[in-house]
Amino acid sequence: MSAHEAHLAAASKALRDVSRVKPVEILFWLAALATFFGLPDQYLLLNEVVITGLFALSLDLVIGYGGIVSLGHAAFFGFGCYAAGLLTKFGVPDPILGLVLTAGMTALLGFVTSFLVLRGSDLTRIMVTLSVGVLLGEIANRLPDLTGGADGLQGVAPGLLLGRFEFDIFGQVAYGYSLAVTFILFVIARRFVFSPFGWSIRAVKQNALRASSIGIHVNRRLVVVYTLAAAYAGVAGALLAQTTSFVSLDVLAFHRSADLLLILILGGTGYLYGGLVGALLFKIVQDFLSNLTPEYWEFWIGLILVSLVMIGRERIVAVPMLLWRRLRGASA
């Protein structure tokens, strides 16, 4: 074997090792499945967590992989909410078909708006994504005949899931449905980011100039990842609309994009699980804080954000990681 071939073999082995499914990942999804059977009185809450997790996963694709700082990701989530709600109300009661159609429409919106984030610096991108977000919010607000305006879109009643299961008031079917969709989309995202195409996106994020000099079409990568992430956010929105039978203007609000950023940062970017872990952490923290100070819980959220930046997320994560390694070292 020549030296060149040896390098190639080593490289492809390294890539395969990184992308192999680890035991902890299987544990994670088994735990998620266990919540479906073990926590029947928490379905509504869990449903919300898993939808937020999927939404944050889609932001992770944009920030953690694409390297695009977006402050208007709620645009796609909200668009998905309204699209799925309207589809259900006017002619497409089947949830799965509604979900697929919504994904397609949000992907189209993502594709069109992706060209807006290709140009300019981080600042330009932040402002463009922010403007697209508030622009959609303004449109939804100004079209009360279609969206219900400030009253929200009411009476979204999806039909039977798979022609068999009816959405119950305890949220069992809803949670099972959201969890299953999230799992399928997660697997697809995982395949995607560990594909050669996914690796090339990471190369673009690390250094766009070098990536383009080895023949990677930078803009095409960003368009694809942005479009995919938009579709994911749209599906998350569609799940929310279908499982809660209601869409409010709040889904397009600025604080949604901001909270989402916090969720992703809490969970960590660039390894796909960050969104799901962050959504769970955020829900726990939010519940705890809003019990503590119902009106002013946002203050503590702000404090968490500020401290995360000032202390540095790495340093906060480093302590438990170090303990974990010690434990593993001791047991091995």
């Binding site: 402050l71 300019g120 600042l123 100004r142 002013y296 203050f299 954000l305 500020v306 995360l308 000032m310």
Partner: protein, 286 residues
């Protein structure tokens, strides 16, 4: 129609004074600070507390609003923001959003979440008719104060020694340090003055813009537009951008109320696509 134009100019001048600090910190120093509106809000609430509760005369409260907001800005710059300059843009976004959340909750905790109005002297309620244009005395005051401030700012940045130091420090901090410029002091002073101006703008504009705890988020987009469209060529760009924005927003809401703020957001997207560096970009600037 001319009345609308006048109101728009007053509104735009107000936006300029509030956003001028941001056009330096964000436009020139490249610090993504989404919390600038919090300083404007601080100025507004300081004035409410001083005038409505402590009985300080309105015209004495305005300079106090400037000084106190500047002090808040100075303390925050020295303790917190100084560490954020070199962080990534994502971290700057998170930090400043966190700051906004904290400021909003703190204000609604201390002052309540309802909209506040500053009791202004009665003679400012007067209206004058000049050549068929109906002008409110309060808006005339705003135009006058903001006009003087804009001229002073332009003079300071373009003509004084401090302005030259600031421009040098922004363009290349390392070389500026090598030339003996104390970059930290220059940045801190700039941040403080910017916060103070935001506070003064918040105090002047509280009754026009509506002062409540959501203020920093409500006007965030407007500040960003002023900076983005104004670009980084000194103070003229942001001033022109702010006045245009004020006129467009006032007349847009008057003539096309069904579109609301729609046109403004659309305008911003178009401008950013057309000229990502702003309408008045400076050659060689960052």
């Amino acid at each position: 129609m001319l009345t609308n134009l006048f109101d728009g100019i007053a509104y735009g001048m107000l936006l300029f004074v509030m956003a001028s600090g941001l056009s330096v910190t964000l436009g020139l120093m490249n610090l993504i600070n989404l919390a600038h509106g919090a300083f404007a809000m601080a100025g507004g609430y300081i004035t409410v507390a001083l005038v409505n509760q402590a009985g300080v005369p309105f015209f004495a409260a305005l300079p106090l609003a400037f000084v106190l907001s500047a002090l808040i800005g100075l303390v925050m710059e020295r303790t917190l923001y100084v560490h954020v300059y070199r962080k990534t843009h994502l971290e700057q976004v998170m930090f400043s959003i966190g700051h906004v959340f904290m400021a909003m909750s703190a204000v609604s905790f201390v002052m309540g979440s309802e909209q506040k109005f500053i009791t202004i002297p009665a003679f400012l309620d007067a209206r004058y008719e000049v050549l068929g244009v109906s002008m409110g005395a309060y808006r005339l005051l705003i135009v006058a104060v903001c006009g003087v401030l804009a001229a002073t700012l332009q003079y300071v940045v373009a003509r004084t020694r401090f302005g030259a130091q600031l421009r040098a420090a922004v363009d290349d901090p390392v070389v500026a340090r090598g030339l003996g410029i104390n970059v930290d002091v220059v940045f801190a002073a700039t941040f403080a003055v910017g916060s103070g101006l935001a506070g003064l703008g918040g105090a002047l504009g509280a009754n026009l813009l509506g002062l409540d705890p959501t203020f920093p988020v409500k006007y965030l987009i407007y500040f960003l537009i002023v900076v983005a469209v104004g670009g980084s060529s000194g103070m003229t760009g942001p001033l022109v951008a702010a006045v245009l924005l004020g006129i467009a927003d006032v007349s847009g809401k008057y003539y096309l109320p069904q579109f609301g703020s729609f046109m403004i957001y659309l305008f911003m997207i178009v401008v950013l696509l057309w000229r990502p560096q702003g309408l008045f970009a400076r050659a060689g600037g960052r």
